[in-house]
Amino acid sequence: MPRLRFMLILLALVITLLPVYWMVNTSLKTQVEVFTSPPTLWPENPTLRNYTGLFTHRHLGKYLLNSIVIAGSAALLSLAIGSLAAYALARFGKDLGQQRLNFWVLAPRMIPPVALVVPLFLILQKIGLINKQLGLILVYTAFNLPFVAWMMRSFFQEIPVDLEEAAMVDGASRLRSFRDIVLPLVSPGMAATAIFSLIITYNEFFFALILTSTPAAATLPVGTAALIGKTQTLYGEMAAAGVVAAVPLVIFALLVQRHLVRGLTMGAVK
């Protein structure tokens, strides 16, 4: 590999990972050391108290479980529902132009969450889903759906219609041909879409804050932010919470990053 390329990649890695290192570094420090100047690159008295405190005092285990369940379910649900719509749009949607669809994909992102949170609260309150995992799952699904539908539509469009028609001529129903022929071909694309949805939903804060009230359904971002107190912020614990929250996603990304790029490569973004 050419020298320059190597140096540039190394530079990118250093810049990317330095703050991450700082987060890990801070998570192992006592509060008094966090504010030492000059800053120490490695804690003088490393401690795991920040991590243990999170799980014994701050319900982080509950928040972690909620986050994984809610984000995972929302990603899957939006994938399932959105793919159906995407298939319909790909196969039958000559009339619904790309422009229109683009607009509806982007529309939820144009509105600051602050404008939607109170009405959403009222809606969920009516159906008794405040402070329940299912409530948040439904809201996040709704927000992911346009994105999912739009991404999956391009994937479906990549599959030639002839393949399905050939199968149907051979006697298979549309459903059979969908399941046996189309689905396997778009699975990398589905993986990519699921991953993006997952990451976005996992770190969402605003709706999780208002639509849940206790650790029964609240998620990691809410639990982590709670460490910002009225007159003090517990930096060590916050850093530890950040590490704990990021670990599942990083592991997940490591496992599926091959699928991620391959999936996107399948023409999603054309």
Binding site: S73, L76, A191, L209, I210, T214, L227, T231, H259
Partner: protein
Amino acid sequence: MIRRQFLRDSLGAATATALAGCGNKDQRVQLTFGSYADPGLDILKDEFLPEFEKTTGIGTEWVEADFSGWLQKALNDGETKAGAFDIYVMDDLWVPRFAGARYLANLDELGFQTDEDFLTPALDLGYWPPKTGLRQPGIDPKAKPILYSLPLVSDVQLLFYRRDIFGDSPPSTWDDISRVARQKSNPAKRQYGWVTRGVKGNPIMNSFFVLLHDFGGTEFGENWKVTFNSPQAVEALEFYLSLLPYEPEGIAEFDSDQEGETLLQGNAFAATIWTGWCRQTDDPIRSRVVNKIGFAVPPRKVNRVAKLGLFMAGIAAAAPHKTEALEFLKWFSRSDIQIRFARAGGIPFKMSAFKDQEARRSSRWLDAILGAMTLGIPSPRTSDWSKVEDILGTELNRALLDKGNARQHLDAAAAEATAFLKSAGYHAD
């Protein structure tokens, strides 16, 4: 395939969680407290709630969110009458809004009895309309004040000073602070004579508040006329700015956490800080100045005041367990419990607890806090104060960045605030 595995795992986890939630319906009542995080609440949370549970058999769940997040949630809960919380832990600044909008239950009606042992400045904060001072437009000036909330933990701005620098007797005037800062500061070596808050809005306003009143100024005059650009106010701001050379460089971005940390790192000689920090000064994992910090009432100029910032507790209007919530408030307000709270290191709100000998021995800041509470004044009691504070706080921050121009900035703030108040129905002149 990965996707199927993931699907299976998620479904499994979801089912397990759902099932876990279904079983074991606890028969006893569970009180839900909503709050923000603060070291001042730790002892209540960790020691006294479990004791309450044991004594009365009423369960407690303490839910925390970040400070602004909790305000949002509480407002939302109150407005929509969702009833997710039984007790709101509030900043005393919120009481006008919560009480005025009827998000809180009427404690008089529920049968709460106050007694003489309550610290008057603390108890008065819980009444709406306010017992003393101006009433905002829309409130009947003759309406009888009703008790809507009780003090939970006393919090007031106290002077924290380095005993090894000031000697054993605390600085008693602002000129003392100024003089010692001038003589002994060494900013190059990170030895700052004073540290304060500079972030615009509420933080800088809290720091400026004491100076404003000490120099003889006020926020409002008769009929809500804006008076924070009076000559006394300008003098106060000029004094605030005069300490800048002895303060850390980035003071404009300092909030209470950095202010406190600078003191605890041993880099500042003195500061006016909230009482939640008291216990931490002697904790080695938090502080480098163990046993070096003294506590006193904030210094004087013409007047001597301290800023009140109590944690208040109110019962939500839509609380599912009002009777049990009242039980808690009655229990925690008992003088004997308050004495034990003070002995455990908490900050009480009853006189007998402040005077208890054992408590005074183990918490060496208690006397100073009592003194400060007695001289304490709160922010103006109106639900529109947040907006005025934001306006004034932004101009104060600008003056800080300018390192001067006190009069211009205060005039600008006064003009904008007057315009806002007029549009909100105040006479303001």
